[in-house]
Symmetry: C2
Subunit: 264 residues, 2 copies
DNA sequence: GCTTGACCTTGACGCTGGGTCAGGGTTGCA
DNA sequence: TGCAACCCTGACCCAGCGTCAAGGTCAAGC
């Protein structure tokens, strides 16, 4: 008669494993001797080896019992199923390998390469670091929501960067990073932004947005802007005074009807 | 300000996942509002997307924090490490696929093909099913302990099967499957076995065992024999009377010196 | 007879990455 | 005012054991 340790060593597994198989009902609990020790016969070794043969071939323990009792046809069907699972797991790891290799190859985290090029160009052109960061983070958010739009949109942005006057305006927006809410540069900047938007709007009257972005995303990007710049809230107020609302997607303010006292 | 559900949906994960990341310290716990709800800013979405980017590339959560904070060099080293793990996992599944395919191709469980051929031949020759089974189980045990020995040894056993007189003896051993301990066929069979072993021993005087088997394994195989046949114990006794001990590996009995009364 | 070390016993927690209740409070809209 | 849709914490669940804790048992050596 064998003790659990002997059984385990014959089958090349640990004692814990044997007990685990008992608990799972894979291997029947044997008789106990007078002191409560489990005592096994040779047949238990055979059973255990058969279980390990399946387990070592990637069969989940939950299916081992079924396979041990299966006839040929059931066995082949079950094996088919398990093989499918194995292939799926392999494909998964392979796609993981590809993704992680791309990350290591220099993609900044969560950023498509076009965006990396864009923020690099911003740095070259001397944009304030804070502005570059908010831009990068914004694109992380955009890429997460609508990855297919990033490519064409990015091309447009890059072109804007190379436009002298626009770039100068945008460079100055970077000064927001050290403007408090009362900074005298804010109204000046708001004027320039409003003028630019007005010109753009005039030039594109009736033209739909090229890059339709959900309200939610716009709100999120505006929030990111506000979180990043201390002067951002004041800037939004100044733009409202000038008839514009929002930042990410600046629009003409629709004048909300002020309720008359009579209506209250 | 975002609720946890909004944050989760921006990042394409479940609420449970966000809370899990809080618990693991991957994502900092945000402020709570007056009713205890978590309130997130846009920066949290960015962080969460970055975490998911790594997780989706197969980075274990336990290493995500490290990678988010890593410089380029550390990042590449960590990625190398993770890629190694992924490759190892892929190799593992591939070997699982091969093994399970072999099992489905007809290998009886845990049996090398030579052994399958051997037990099939036993059935063809009309051996008792019980004997075939104990033979098969014995080979499962042997293959588990010393797989490399199975091939050559099996060749020898197959040759023995084709030896007329030996086969007849072995066929009759199969009758043990319905012999009680007092069956009159037992002494006759024991005589025949003893005679055969004697002859074999005479022919191989001084020759070492071709197939050295550990004492433990021999004991295990003997135990399997005893478990399978009700008459096995009696058979062993009869062989002892004839000067032999054991079954799997029958040897001349070394006569233990009987203690004289004077010595007690 | 006593000690020591190697076994054995049950019970419980740990790992991964969340899923899925349970039992309760909050918010927002009709 | 009610209802659906959120939110909260706490807890158990999956696989396949590893590992510790706290205690009982066995064989051997002194």
């Amino acid at each position: 008669m064998l003790t659990i340790g002997q059984l385990a060593s014959y089958a090349g597994v640990t004692v814990r494993t044997v007990r685990h198989y008992h608990a799972k009902g894979l291997l029947p609990e044997p008789e106990r001797d007078h002191s409560g020790y489990r005592r096994y016969g040779a047949a238990a070794v055979v059973e255990l080896v058969r279980i390990r043969t399946l387990a070592d071939a990637g069969v989940p323990l939950s299916r081992v019992r079924e396979l041990l009792a299966a006839d040929d046809e059931e066995f082949v069907a079950a094996v088919d199923d398990i093989d499918r699972r194995l292939r799926a797991e392999i494909r998964e790891r392979q796609s993981h390998r590809e993704r992680i290799a791309k990350l290591a190859a220099g993609d900044s985290l969560a950023l498509p390469p076009e965006v990396v090029a864009y923020v690099d160009r911003m740095r070259e052109l001397g944009f304030r670091e804070r502005l570059v960061e908010i831009e990068r983070d914004s694109w992380i958010l955009i890429a997460a929501q609508m990855p297919e739009q990033v490519g064409p949109w990015m091309a447009m942005k890059r072109a804007q960067l190379e436009d002298e006057s626009l770039r100068r305006l945008y460079l100055d927006v970077g000064e927001l990073s050290d403007c408090g809410p009362e900074d005298p540069r804010l109204p000046v900047l708001a004027d320039r932004v409003a003028a630019f938007i007005q010109a753009a709007a005039d030039g594109a009257e009736g033209v739909e947005d090229e890059h339709p972005v959900s309200e939610d995303l716009v709100a999120l990007l505006d929030a990111a802007f506000v979180e990043s710049f201390p002067g951002a809230v004041r800037m939004l107020e100044l733009l409202e005074e000038r008839g514009w609302t929002g930042w990410t997607n600046i629009r003409r303010k629709t004048v909300a009807p002020v309720p008359c006292e009579a209506e209250l």
